[in-house]
Amino acid sequence: MSRWIVRGLRSGVRTSPFPAREDPEANDAPSAVELDVRGLTARTALAAAEACPTDALVAEGDLRRGRLSFDLGQCILCGRCTRLAPEAFRPVHDPRVAVRARGRLSRRVTWSAGGGPVEEAMELELTGRLRERSFRVFGRSLHIRHVDAGSCNGCESELQLLSSPYYDLARLGLFFTPSPRHADALLVTGVVTRNMEAALQETYAAIPEPRLVVAAGVCAIGGGCFAGGIMTHGPLDRLLPVDVYVPGCPPTPLALLHGLLLAVGKAEERRSASPAPVAGAGRKGEG
């Protein structure tokens, strides 16, 4: 047994400096895709929507007049749009992609004769509970009950790594708990399947108030590529009130950490991910 202790000590400290500092070593994988309207043309908008395997990019209209909806809550990070139109769709390596309001994951651009695509001002759809009071009530620690509501196991693979030396979520006061009675937060992964719906609802009901709900991964947020199936429910926030949305397929371990810290008010949303649209102030497209 002493040989294991020596081996463990010899590895030294491998833990990520996130969130105090950036962790470039963990950021090879993008956490999200960002739309830069300045690089978008009507042609690339239509082509990217055609190539998108989910409803993350949906276009209507033609080259003369049309509209593109961009929903990070359905983006499975397949990389098709970023390869097709790198000047408009860029991978985001910053792990701080979680948001408190579902609407912050969506953008919309329109184009019409004589003009390139411009950003459309959008009402924030507050499907989630945009709570004014932060959950500082939880003090310095948060106990999390995870429910796999029908994932591919990619999200669980990443969640399990949160306990590994590289991420060590306990250093941030975050813990997984087996009992919903001891939990402060419900973390849901996967598209909610018909067969998991009852277990999910019962787990939520067993968590004492106040309780947070985190939707991790696009399956839980919008259904991802499993949306519209006869065995799946689609968005979690149609069943439960969601406080934090962590996009990704799966969300990277750092994105999950950021989402959990955001839930307890120990982190902020990344501002540049969703520039607040101002009515009539859309940027003129260049193409």
Binding site: R7, E25, C78, G150, C152, P165, G224, F226, M231
Partner: protein, 513 residues
């Protein structure tokens, strides 16, 4: 001529050649079961599935023989909704037939246990793969008919575990029957994660179904995607350039590495060996980071495309891999040796959850679980794909069938995979050009790959417009869950259960689909 090609005429079948390595025979529905049973005397039953065709319902059985590079697909057009069950003669057909029965509403006559496998409260009389529902329409909730074996005896009680598990794990439920210490019987209740991906694929373009194939299961993303994309390439006769084949081989092995590092780490965790669990978790994380550096995704999602790779492997990723590989080899060898030298670890594995080779053989098992019961099968060697035919590797086996055998096979496979990655690196895969969009037309083919859990088979049928008409996915967990309950009941204690589950490392997402 392969042995399967010789066998078919002896049974009165005239197989036509399908895509390379695929023999296809069609028979009358009345003789299907008998022929399948006679072929299965020697051959492995690798899959059995139904499809809805314009003419009616087609049953297809897929066979393979050890040491034979061909697959044999035997199909029949059913004349009604009933067919004689193959299960009484071929035990490995049991779960396939239960799936056909619940999903297609067919009746396998004389099946010994014709109960549902993955459906819970889905109403009777509307088979999910055949029923019509308007978009957004929900089927009403019906009964959940099931047969849960009840164990009687003094002090025997039933203890449910799941479907919400203790940690961040997959949703699954196991009913334990215990007398206190001993695990008398374990009854897995499956299907909690049923997404019905095969129905979701119908009518969709190949690219969208590839995204689904990559999301059957997270830790077998690449191999399932690869088997699917190879099926498409074979159906459309698309050539894959050598550089792309080598790159695919490299990624297939990196996936095996991160899966196996994770699996061994979980076994260590189940035995309370936390330092080992942490050490293996670090290795897994490093492999995932290297995959991200190579492909832009930690699980290599989105890198595959029909004809090659959607983007060349990044040069920085190759450099990172070359830098890390010697360290991985050193650490993996050191950790493996230390585990085998740790009595508290090995004692928990020895004789735990035994699958006797004779019993296991009836299930036509695949992958590390099959190989730990002495089944010497590996599609990388037996049906070479990508660049495996050019690389040297061994297929480790162990015939004891207990948790120790399973872990030893995993450890040996880690060594082999590291060796394959080294060989692929030595050949320095040239950046492969992005393939032009291949025109896809009507066609069908089988695709396969050795996923971390064993061979994964994907059968696809494309329509004239190149869209997917039928996609059948048979990942390894569909096969390997079958004897699980039996292994649990081989004289183990309740406290062995975490070790048993970890040593099998079976995917629920793959089975439930």
């Amino acid at each position: 001529m392969s042995r399967l090609a010789e066998l078919a005429p002896a049974l009165g079948l005239t197989p036509e050649a399908g895509p390379p390595g695929e023999l296809r025979a069609i028979c009358a529905s009345a003789s299907f079961t008998d022929l399948a049973a006679r072929i299965a005397v020697d051959a492995h039953l690798s899959d059995l599935f139904a499809s809805v065709n314009p003419e009616g319902i087609v049953l297809t059985a897929v066979f393979s023989l050890a040491g034979d590079p061909d697959w044999l697909l035997l199909s029949t057009l059913l004349s009604g909704d009933r067919f004689p069950s193959l299960t009484p003669r071929v035990h490995a057909a049991s779960w396939y037939e239960r799936e056909i029965a619940e999903m297609y509403g067919l009746v396998p006559e004389h099946h010994p246990a014709p109960v549902r496998l993955r459906l819970h409260d889905w109403p009777e009389g509307m088979p999910p793969m055949r029923c019509r529902l308007a978009p957004g329409e929900r089927a009403p909730r019906g009964e959940r008919p099931e047969v849960v074996p009840e164990v009687r005896g003094q002090g025997v009680f039933q203890l449910p575990l799941g479907p919400v598990r203790s940690g961040p794990q997959e949703a699954a439920e196991f009913l334990f029957n215990s007398g206190g210490e001993d695990l008398v019987a374990v009854w897995p209740r499956l299907g909690y994660k049923l997404r019905l991906v095969e129905r979701l694929a119908e009518g969709r373009p190949v690219e969208a179904v590839l995204a689904l194939a990559e999301r059957l299961a997270g830790t077998s993303t690449f191999s399932n995607g690869l088997a699917f994309v190879q099926a498409v390439e074979r159906a459309a006769a698309v050539e894959v350039p050598p550089a792309a084949r080598l790159a695919r081989t490299l990624l297939n092995e990196l996936e095996r590495l991160h899966h196996h590092f994770g699996a061994v780490g979980r076994v260590a965790d189940a035995t309370g060996l936390l330092v080992a669990a942490a050490q293996y978790a670090m290795l897994k994380e490093e492999v995932l980071r290297t995959c991200a550096a190579l492909t832009g995704h930690r699980y290599s999602r989105g890198i595959l495309a029909p004809g090659g790779l959607a983007a060349p492997l990044a040069a920085e990723g190759m450099a990172e891999l070359a830098g890390r590989l010697p360290d991985w080899r050193r650490r993996a060898a050191g950790l493996g040796a230390l585990l085998e030298d740790t009595a508290t670890f090995m004692d928990r594995l020895e004789g735990t959850a035994v699958l006797e080779p004779g019993y296991a053989a009836q299930h036509d098992l695949v992958g590390p679980i099959g190989r730990s019961t002495g089944v010497d099968r590996d599609v990388r060697r037996d049906h070479p794909y990508a660049a495996y035919a050019e690389l040297a590797f061994e297929v480790p086996t162990d015939a004891r069938g207990d948790a120790e055998a399973r872990v030893r096979v995993l450890l040996a496979e880690i060594g082999q995979s590291l060796g394959i990655v080294q060989q692929a690196l030595d050949r320095a895969p040239a950046p492969s050009a992005v393939p032009p969009d291949a025109p896809l037309g009507a066609g069908s083919a089988l695709g396969w790959a050795e996923a971390p859990g064993g061979e994964t088979l994907h059968f696809i049928e494309l329509d004239a417009g190149g869209r997917v008409r039928r996609w059948r996915a048979r990942p390894p967990a569909c096969v390997n869950w079958h004897p699980y309950a039996h292994a649990c009941a081989s004289g183990n204690n309740l406290t062995d259960y975490p070790v048993i589950e970890a040593s099998f490392a079976l995917s629920h997402a793959e089975l439930d689909r």
